[in-house]
Amino acid sequence: MDAVIFMTKSTQLDEAVKGAAPCIGPETVLVSLMNGLGNEDKLLKVAEPERVIYGSGVMGTELLRPGACEASFGIPGVQMNFGPVAKSELNDKVGKELERLFIEGGCETICWDDVKPMIWRKVIINSVFNPISALLRLKVKDFTRDMNGMGLAIATMNECIAVANKYGVPITTPELLAELKDSSGSGIQDYYPSMAQDMLMHQRQTEINTLNGAIVKYGKAVGVPTPVNTVITQMISCIQKNYDKQYKEEA
């Protein structure tokens, strides 16, 4: 294979990479388009930075039934962002080809020289809105209109941004909030994010470890305390391990 794209659950990525060894040659480029932080680190265990591309999509997706799937562009504009871990001829060839194919296929896409700021923005936004929506059982628009809900969102965002700053992504909370207002308007507001869907509707394992869990881990590594993200991670982790024991109202 010239390029192997990984789109597993992040918890299964290590095993998937190991399993894919037979179709990875010395010139194969590995690509992760999965949400969250640190997926590229798992690819870097088996390939050098000159053969790793990472990024993520903005659109919502659903598997309707075997042989049928649906994509929805919640907000107009660029739907896919990715870029190389390190600049190289191989990464350039695959990155440009992926960009061309996505665009020609109808999905607005950018292959960035440095995708890191995009990745961090997405992770921060997901880390703020997804678990809080899941924990409070409220749509984004409903908890952000509540003083306490919004306070929790801002406290979470402040920590995420302190960590991002340490990793060379210079943004501030007011900047990110302003960007959010400009770009998505009501788009992000009126729905239950994927983590809330996983937890409330399907009782599935969530991607907490690549979001708030990753923020905690990355924070620890550079000495940034993340108490709010730690509590959020612990709560979601405990809930998702004990769905069967949760209190349910009598029918």
Binding site: M1, P22, C23, L33, G60, P66, G67, F102, G105
Partner: protein
């Protein structure tokens, strides 16, 4: 450029649909056998919400054991490799 999509659930299938729609040579790999068999036999029905419908065929497919754990899955990847 030959692509493999390891993990072709909701997101993987949609991403692959865009790529194949533009003519990419792509092999889907997923443990969900029913989905892989359906795509191999009849192609993929791809909707861009709310009302763009496409029928996309010409995918190669393979399926893996659910947790990628068994040594026995390597022959499936040989299948991918050969594709």
């Amino acid at each position: 450029v030959k692509f493999a999509m390891i993990g072709s659930g909701a997101a993987g299938s949609c991403f692959a649909a865009f790529l194949r729609k533009a003519g990419a040579d792509i092999t889907l790999v997923d443990p969900y056998k029913e989905h892989m068999d359906k795509v191999a036999a009849d192609g993929l029905d791809f909707t861009i919400y709310p009302d763009e419908h496409y029928h996309i065929d010409g995918f190669k497919t393979a399926y893996t054991s659910r947790r990628y754990r068994h040594n026995g899955c390597s022959h499936l990847y040989d299948q991918v490799h050969a594709a």
